[in-house]
Amino acid sequence: SAPSPSVTPSPLCKPRRLYISFSDVGWENWIIAPQGYLANYCGGECPFPLAAELNSTNHAVLQTMVHSLDPRGTPQPCCVPVRLSPISILYYDNSDNVVLRHYEDMVVDECGCR
């Protein structure tokens, strides 16, 4: 679920809240813990000129400049995850064993223009 923001969100590229509830996707009978987690996602614009806090590469700076000159021909850079965190999940596997497994890149911590 991604709550609708009560205040107008910043238009710039940044992490947005996204909570994944395992019961919503029907996995609650085999996932022991957690019941859900904050995965987030990236959203927002990468406008010209890109400020440092947008985690931009040099190429992204170039691309925004070209986009500002030729918006139809060249799109803006994309707002994507640039730093992610892992989570651990405790669950029952297909043979009813209890498993604690570490999954990488499951939480968006930071976004950037690329």
Binding site: N29, W30, S88, Y92, D93, N97, L100, R101, H102
Partner: protein, 220 residues
């Protein structure tokens, strides 16, 4: 159907061949619950944590499983000493994926009482563990040395036995013959042998390095 396709591809990316549907789910082993709660308490983002290492057990790995024993008690034979427990331990390890590398295997024996009375002088408890064929007779091949041999003066409620070195390639089904006997004169250890319910449960904790970590490592 579209949703189930999406779901199965997501499950595959999580290393699951199909959506589990536990029939008689076992209680969560305390060791796993403690590990999970400890990780949940870590501040985010997990900056300096190695995702491919189980800190709590100090071994490489990203998957920790606890397998329940599906074996059975065997009639006592008396090859030597005073055999008071003979059990075939059987673990179905078929869920281990191809390419998973085992980095730790710990057998845990649980007994009824917190501690068994100290034996009389000169008496010890002997434990032998043999690897046997999952499909053959539950007895070691003649002349085969035990996988593990221990003797104890005192026995406690929980007895962990490290089999990591012995079980490098566990196979899909693992069968072990466990024998516990009292050596020397009969004595107070008899209490362990007298009641068959002294032996409560066995489980096998296995730590492996999954594809996600092994691929990452080769890249690095």
């Amino acid at each position: 159907a579209g949703l189930s396709r999406q779901e199965s591809s997501l499950l595959q990316s999580l290393g699951l061949s199909a959506k589990p549907s536990p029939k008689n789910p076992a209680p969560v082993p305390p060791v796993l619950r403690r590990m999970f709660q400890r990780r949940e308490a870590l501040p985010r983002p997990h900056k300096d944590r190695d995702p491919c290492r189980v800190e709590e057990l100090s071994v490489p790995g990203d998957i920790v499983r606890v397998f329940a024993d599906q074996g059975r008690f065997l009639p006592e034979g008396q090859p030597q000493g005073q055999l008071c427990l003979r059990r075939l331990l059987f673990f179905n390890l078929s869920v281990l994926e191809e390419g998973e590398r085992l980095t730790m295997a710990r057998l845990e024996l649980q007994f009824q009482h917190n501690s068994y009375p100290a034996p009389s002088p000169g008496q010890v408890l002997e434990l032998r563990l043999y690897r046997v064929s999952p499909r053959g007779l539950p007895q070691p091949r003649p002349g085969r040395r035990p996988l593990l041999e221990r003797s104890f003066v005192r026995l406690h409620k929980s007895l962990p036995l490290d089999l990591s070195a012995a079980l490098k390639t566990p196979g899909r089904n693992l069968a072990l013959l466990l024998e516990i006997s009292a050596s020397g004169r009969t004595g107070s250890l008899r209490s362990l042998c007298a009641s068959s319910d002294s032996f409560v449960a066995t489980s096998l904790l296995v730590v492996t390095l999954g594809r996600q970590c092994r691929a990452g490592r080769s890249r690095r």
